[in-house]
């Protein structure tokens, strides 16, 4: 065919050029819907929100086309490796890098002395350095960083760096950290031990609460530390251009915080640094703060003028850690004869590892959300985080609230049994009410807890089964709640928590710029769905540009389950403004008021007479002709929620999600082996934007909780992590993971984007106690620590039958409660 014979395509208005199919969408079957209350700016009803369907980035993910941080290769690049401490606690007397530097192919080596700046993700605990200056605090603490022409040479160079240590006694447990005869990890003249943070809070009349109780239950619990183990190892590529600008491609959930801290540590204006977050291969909280390797790569890229890549080995990922804190609890609950809670006193001791990380916040979180699930009229909380010579602990999915939920729900079943109450009905009776305020000043808005309990227990016929199954079979229920974003930012400021720019193209495409990080949770699809819903286009028409500090407005990051609520609301704000402009010019054409203009199916129409309509492309062009370029900004700042007390900044959230899990287990009474047969989880997500994604988040949360309940451990011997690899650190495989049934409950949150809340973290929390309660139902004995191993099962059965007392009792430190300094 000759060129002239080709069919001609008009490049002018092309109003009917919109023949692309709308993304196939199906109704999800497992959504307990409330009749949608359409917001005033969405009178035409939902056409995208609530549909199930593939994620926007699914197709590039399944073809291997997406470039994760370690997939980036640049011309003339160097490979970096970090030398890490072999000592748990030691002074560094001397570092000799001369032999390493002499190795052919080695380009540069830096040590702590080259970057003597202290930093930390929380402004309250800047106790980290890129590399140790004079003290190493855990096996794996970075000491030096080598860059070489290839990875192997960099590795060989590490072996040539000579470090002379003066070993110090290592502090390896909470008990040791409370002692006064061991060296302090971080010198603190106000203390004689290794306590990092203490919290003492009291709300309501706790003494009177316990005095009025008919029964008081006191138990001790231990929640084992766990790690995130994302399959993607942390990676960064740093490039320092001839224009003196630094670009970092980092596997990070928080590009904005890396941007801030890189500027501070490198002493560069933030305007000269660009942080790009490529797709992240799993985070779960493990990539939410700047890491030594990221800052070292940046420093060395600037020093050498060549791009530097550092990818952690799996062993190093275990050292980078920031995983779930091991926590010991003392839990005292007063109840009336009918189970009504009169007071709770919760004490927690957190093993923080070697540095602060998010630990101050974690300490508060072990107490802050106790009151958000069930009504607690009087509440006392004492929290204490200690430093130990282990990799630093930080936030993992459920941040600090997962551990106490194990204790609380375990004890609640015990209370129900002692009082002869049905454990499900009991929980429903004491559940918090929607639109209430907790005793510690947290504002609860939408709350579907009772619906979740009903859905999960009815689906599993829990009431017929609990306590009635044959010995060796059990069913367990637990419930929980979680944040939809921390109400306050990490560093104090009055700016929005999230911003978005929405640009409408003449061809009908819409681009959103958002500072979020896509770590698999589906933020990209969520943004596309919210914008598509607002403008009546298909999600496939929306292009999402995320996680780039040069291009995208700040979003604080993918942590604290904040993205749907906060970035979603910011995107909706921006898209609503674009809608308003398009609606006004379309209304002029239709000769009606702008309120009468609807958007759906790539068309813009008169709501009073849907025949009167135009394509979205026509409407966009009409608007651009009328107003100029259609690009609108939006932002989200949470309402002021913090109460007036020190520490009130941790806990408030614009909304809380609710979950209830039912686990069904079989326990081999001979071997103690536990088989989880099924987990059913009902989750109040506010409004489900995409059922496929919400189910995926629920299933992933259930799975991750399963691992923590049954197998994940954080053991040390002689100062060393015993199992820093994915074979010995057991995570559930497909053979360990039971069928999971996700039930989505909708409550239509007034402040959430189209009513949505979170699903990323909340569903993990009830899983662990649900399994614990199911095991207790199966073996008629309670286990007070995680993981619930066959060994503990056998010992607990022995103890319960009074044969031999082999189960070591869980204890908390002998000090009754940390004393304020």
């Amino acid at each position: 065919m000759r060129e002239q014979e080709l069919p001609s395509v008009s490049t002018a208005t092309n109003p009917d050029g919109d023949a692309r199919p709308l993304t196939s969408a199906v109704e999800a079957s497992s959504v307990l819907r409330r009749a949608p209350q359409y917001p005033p700016d969405k009178p035409e009803g939902f056409s995208v929100v609530g549909k199930a369907g593939p994620k926007l980035d699914s197709f590039t993910r399944v073809t291997g086309q997406d470039r994760f941080a370690d997939d980036i290769f640049l011309p003339n690049m160097l490979f970096g490796k970090m030398l890490r401490s072999t000592q748990a606690h030691a002074r560094i007397l001397r570092i000799d890098t001369s032999k390493a530097l002499a190795l052919p192919g080695v380009v540069a080596i830096v040590t702590g002395a080259d970057i003597p700046v202290r930093y930390g993700i929380l402004p309250s605990s800047p106790d980290e350095m890129v590399m140790a200056l004079d003290t190493v605090r855990y096996v794996g603490d970075p000491i030096a960083c080598v860059v070489a022409d290839d990875e192997l040479t960099a590795e060989e160079a590490l072996a040539l760096v000579q470090v002379e240590y003066e070993p110090l006694p290592a502090v390896m447990s909470i008990d040791e950290a409370l002692r006064t005869d061991l060296p302090q990890l971080h010198p603190n003249p106000r203390r004689t031990n290794n306590i990092h943070k203490e919290v003492h809070l009291e709300f309501g009349d706790v003494e009177a609460g316990f005095a009025s109780a008919d029964r008081i239950f006191e138990d001790e619990y231990f929640f084992e530390g766990t790690t995130h183990a994302p399959i993607e190892q942390h990676a960064v590529m740093a490039q320092y251009g001839a224009d003196q600008k630094l670009t970092l491609w980092a596997a990070t959930q928080t590009p904005h915080y890396l941007h801030r801290i890189a500027a501070a540590v490198l002493g560069m204006p933030a305007s000269q640094i660009r942080v790009i977050a490529p797709p992240v291969g799993g985070g779960f909280g493990g990539k939410t703060e700047p890491f030594a390797h990221e800052l070292a790569a940046a420093f060395l890229a600037r020093k050498t003028g060549r791009p530097v890549k550092i990818t952690l080995t799996r062993q190093e990922v275990f050292y980078a850690h920031r995983g779930r804190h091991p926590v010991r609890f003392k839990l005292k609950t007063g109840v009336k004869a009918d189970g009504t809670i009169t007071a709770i006193h919760l004490q927690s001791w957190l093993d923080g590892g070697a540095y602060g990380s998010y630990g101050v916040a974690t300490t508060y979180y072990t107490g802050a959300l106790t009151t958000v699930t069930y009504k607690v009229p009087a509440y006392k909380f004492d929290g204490c985080r200690v430093f130990t010579n282990k990799p630093p602990c930080g936030p993992k999915r459920g941040h600090g609230t997962t551990q106490p939920r194990f204790a609380l729900e375990n004890q609640l079943d015990k209370i129900a049994d002692a009082l002869g109450l049905d454990a499900a009905e009991y929980r429903k009776r004491i559940a918090v009410d929607p639109n209430s305020t907790t005793v510690n000043g947290l504002r609860v808005t939408s709350c579907g807890l009772r619906e979740c309990i009903d859905a999960a227990t009815e689906r599993t016929r829990y009431k017929e089964k609990r306590g009635k199954l044959a010995r060796g079979r059990g069913i367990g229920l637990a419930a929980s709640s979680y944040l939809c974003g921390a109400g306050l930012p990490i560093y104090w400021n009055a700016m929005p928590q999230s911003g978005a720019i929405v640009k409408v193209d003449r061809g009908g495409g819409v681009t959103v710029l958002s500072g979020t990080s896509e770590c698999g949770q589906g933020s990209t699809s969520m943004l596309a769905a919210i914008i598509a819903e607002t403008l009546g286009v298909d999600p496939s028409d929306v292009s999402v540009c995320y996680g780039d500090t040069d291009l995208t407005p700040v979003d604080l990051g993918s942590y604290s389950s904040r993205v749907t609520f906060m970035a979603g609301n910011a995107a909706r704000d921006a898209a609503s403004k674009a809608r308003h402009l398009i609606a006004q010019s379309a209304a002029e054409r239709f000769g009606v008021g702008p309120d009468r203009v609807g958007f759906a199916g790539r068309r813009v129409f008169d709501l009073g007479n849907r025949e009167r309509s135009m394509t979205f492309i026509e409407a966009a062009q009409l608007a651009e002709a009328r107003w100029g370029t259609i690009a609108c900004v939006g932002s989200y700042t949470p309402p002021k929620l913090a109460a007036e007390y020190k520490g009130s900044g941790v806990g408030p959230s614009p909304a809380y999600s609710y979950s209830a899990a039912v686990a069904e287990v079989a326990v081999d009474l001979e071997t103690g082996e536990i088989t989880v047969e099924k987990i059913t989880l009902a989750h109040d997500v506010g409004r489900c934007i995409n059922a496929t994604n919400v189910e995926g988040q629920i299933e992933g949360g259930v799975y991750m909780g399963l691992g923590e309940a049954l197998m994940e451990e954080w053991p040390f011997r002689a100062g060393e992590h015993k199992i820093p690899n994915l074979l010995d650190y057991k995570t559930p495989t497909s053979l360990d993971t039971p069928p999971i049934e996700a039930i989505i409950v909708e409550t239509d949150d007034k402040e959430g984007p189209f009513g949505a809340k979170e699903a990323g973290q909340g569903p993990l929390n009830p899983v662990i106690p649900a399994i614990a309660n199911a095991v207790a139902d199966a073996i008629r004995a309670r286990i007070h620590s995680t993981p619930i191993t066959p060994e503990k099962v056998l010992k607990a059965m022995d103890a319960a039958s009074g044969t031999t007392l082999r189960l070591k009792k869980v204890t908390t430190p002998s000090k009754p409660s940390p004393v304020p300094v």
Partner: protein, 166 residues
């Protein structure tokens, strides 16, 4: 101190093409695919054979490319995630993974896809138990495996239907 051996010429068959590259003989297949052939679709999560992220097909059998030397793979047919689709037409496992939401972060996905492709390309429709067993060497931290199993079953059914109609 070890001295890196001289590079040698590797002749490989990858995704239906004969390719050559000079690489050190101690390089793993994973390293050669990613670093020398720029096929970064194949991922790594441990480089110790624990996680399955680096799974590729060697003569249609799943192999952990982090434990295989490239030099050993020279006489064999290697398939990576980049070679699964038939031009613009996705392989049934790719299509099903995308539709079902079986890829969340997508990092372990290429490894799962290769394991799954080897499974579904065999005759017959595998049961869920067979699927669970087949993918038990691939770790996923996002999905809880639920949608991965659903996707593989869907792909197998579709392939069986297509084979019946053909």
């Amino acid at each position: 101190m070890t001295v890196a051996p001289e590079k040698i010429l590797l002749r490989l068959h990858v995704n239906g093409s004969a390719v050559q590259c000079a690489a050190h003989p101690n390089k793993t297949l994973l390293e050669v695919l990613r670093e020398d052939l720029n096929l970064t679709g194949t991922k790594h999560g441990c480089e110790m054979g624990h996680c399955g992220a680096c799974t590729v097909l060697v003569d249609d059998e799943p192999v952990l490319s982090c434990l295989a030397l490239a030099i050993e793979a020279q006489e064999h047919e290697i398939r990576t995630v980049e070679g699964l689709a038939d031009g613009p037409k996705l392989h049934p496992v790719q299509q099903a993974f995308a539709e079902c939401g079986a890829a969340q972060c997508g990092y372990c996905t290429p490894g799962f896809l290769m394991t799954a492709a080897a499974l579904v390309e065999r005759p017959g429709v595998p049961t869920n138990a067979v699927i669970r067993d087949a993918i038990s060497g691939n770790l996923c931290r996002c999905t809880g495996y639920e949608k991965i199993i659903e996707a593989i079953a869907l792909a197998a059914r579709r392939m069986e239907e297509a084979a019946t109609h053909a």
